[in-house]
């Protein structure tokens, strides 16, 4: 009743604001922004303020190695890191945050004159593609297997899959990657590992055609396999557990008593509800898989963000290191936000106390 009245007064507007502030979406957004902000500040202070840290070391190196005057060296460092090094620290910090919002992350120290944002954006699609595909495959296949295990519980298949699942989930994804290369590539020679390196074969132009998509999948297939093997065990085991408890719920018994088809019960009643607990674990998995790209892309020489991050750490290319790290963090947080929103769609209980 009261909801239909249009808030015309000042207190009404305040009421709307309060509702927005307490809404689920709003709280999630704030959390996401705070995390990105904290990470951006942490890297700023580590790189800028550490005694003997990157900026100081860079200036000292210029002065001693290339005979540049202190002032010229400071100027060069300032333009590379896109900082005003003479200003007080808080001012530099504010400027850094301002630049960050505009997407200005400074320039690479190694490949001079190339803006960090350009590097980050050119490698980002490959990581998004491989990690995203892997997460979707791993989640859906894992859920399916987990359900099958629960339906056939205590059968031979269940025992085999349970042991396989816990074995696979205990081996780190990068060791899986090494095993893939060593066994499938080198020992059994099933695939040509060296030809599969990189994110595309030479000469292939990005475009919306089959050759391009096929080639992109070909190069991403082994990294995807490693990610999937590294995460699927967890989905299988949690889904098995949650399906088992869902099968004992009253509404499932009632659905059976009503004579609904077995398949409809499995998808609409059991599956939909049992998939909720594994879904809440997505956030952990997203961070893990995105983080694991650092090692997986290094192993397979797959040219994505993890690969660039490894190289920039090796070459002490701090602006790139910082930019790539912030981009990976942002992607993980955005993916989490998406997963949370999806979850609140799937499970209306989450929205309680939020919007009406």
């Amino acid at each position: 009743m009261a909801r239909t009245s249009v808030p015309a007064t000042g207190s009404g507007a305040l009421e709307v604001l309060r509702k927005v502030a307490s809404s689920y979406l709003f709280r999630r957004l704030i959390k996401a922004l705070v995390t990105i902000f904290v990470m951006a500040s942490l890297t700023f202070f580590l790189i800028r303020l550490m005694p003997g840290g990157p900026v100081e070391a860079y200036i000292a190196n210029l002065v001693s190695q290339y005979n540049v005057s202190q002032q010229a060296a400071t100027q060069q460092a300032a333009s590379l890191f896109s900082l005003d090094l003479d200003a007080p620290v808080y001012q530099q910090y504010l400027e850094y945050l301002g630049n960050l919002v505009r997407g200005d992350l400074g320039e690479s120290l190694v490949t001079r004159g190339v803006p960090v944002s350009e590097i980050v954006l050119s490698y980002l699609p490959w990581t998004l593609f491989s990690v995203g595909t892997a997460l979707i495959i791993s989640f859906s296949v894992g859920i399916l297997l987990g359900m099958i295990m629960a339906y056939k519980r205590e059968s031979k298949l269940d025992h085999i899959l349970t042991n396989l699942g816990s074995m696979v989930s205990s081996i780190p994804d990068y060791l899986m990657g090494i095993l893939i290369v060593v066994w499938i590539g080198v020992q059994w020679e099933l695939v040509d590992i060296t030809a599969m390196r990189g994110s595309l074969s030479p000469g292939i132009q990005p475009g919306f055609n089959l050759t391009f998509i096929g080639d992109a999948l070909y190069h991403a297939s082994l990294p995807i396999l490693a990610y999937v093997l590294g995460t699927i065990g967890v989905w299988m085991l949690t889904m098995r557990g949650s399906t088992e408890s869902t099968l004992g719920e009253d509404y499932v018994t009632v659905a059976k008593a009503r004579g609904l088809k077995e398949r409809r019960i499995a998808t609409a009643y059991v599956g939909r509800n049992a998939a909720l607990p594994p879904f809440t674990q997505l956030s952990i998995s997203i961070a893990l898989v995105f983080g694991g790209s650092l090692l997986i892309e290094w192993l397979f020489v797959y040219e994505g963000l993890g690969y660039v991050l490894y190289n920039s750490i090796q070459q002490r290319d701090y602006p790139v290191m910082q930019g790539v790290f912030l981009m990976i963090t942002t992607m993980v947080i955005l993916a989490n936000l998406l997963a949370d929103l999806l979850y609140s769609r799937l499970d209306p209980r989450i929205r309680v106390g939020g919007r009406d």
Binding site: K31, A32, V34, T35, V38, M39, T43, L46, I47, M50, G53, P54, N163, S166, M167, S169, S170, I171, P172, Y174, L175, I178, L179, V181, V182, G185, V186, Q187, I193, S283, I284, A287, L288, F290, G291, G292, L294, L295, W298, L299, G306, L309, Y310, I313, R316, Y318, M321, Q322, V324, F325, I328, T329, V332, I333, N336
Partner: protein, 302 residues
Amino acid sequence: MAAATGESRYRDSAIGRFLARFASTLKLMARNRVGFAGFLLVVTIVLFSFVGPIFVPLDETVRVSQIYETPSLSHPLGTDSEGKDVLSQIIHGGRPILTIGYLAATISTIIAVMLGSLGAFLGGRIDTGFTWLADMVLTIPQLPLLAVLAGILSLNSKLAVAGLIGALFWPTLMRATRAQVLSLKERDYVESARALDLGTPHIVFREIAPNMAGYIAINFTLAVTASMYAVVGLTLLGLVPLSQDNWGVMINLAWTRGAIFSKDSIFYIMSPIAAIALHQFGLVAMNRSLSEVFDPRLRRGS
């Protein structure tokens, strides 16, 4: 005199009681065969890594004529790219990795239990704050952050590496502890402790924490697997300058020196991988036994 003998008798019986309890726990663990095998596996690997180096010297002689030999009696796991014995490297290479792994897990468990139980017990703003912090740390891609930190700071000490890993891997345990405390704090004995006005620290650390020992033990093993993932990953990338040879460095060397193109290096690269994977699998399997040991009481309580 009398007091002294009395005390020693008391200590004897305390040790006896401890041994009896230990034995009965072992018996309970042995009920689950996979779990007990996992437990034995972990104990064996840890013992080999910490006691083994005393008896087996590290083979450091380069034998150019014996590169990548297949397993034999003198070299049970073959030889590496320089003809050194792989088995002796495996025995010596576990300690640095395992030390950091277990140390990091201890640190993260302490943080998790403290924040989780305090948050759940105090509630209100503090609880919200801790939960926020946990959610935030959980969404940070941990490995890239550790790699970036390793690139900026020079991580020379094991304690520093373990501390950093421990500081990042606590949120899952913290959430679990928090949920557990929330259910425990409603129980009668906690209510009565509160009625007696024994104070929050007493209730948290004397009444609630001991009742979560099993829960913490299970989560501790999970923390070890998570920390091992990070330590091995970082050493594999060569980002943690550990002075000694270890499993991570071994994989790195095997990888860069030949595993990608030479079929012969298979025993060299598989040995450290197997050691790490077996240790991880042992811990995960051991959890089945642990939950069987601790579950009845948890079930009865709720």
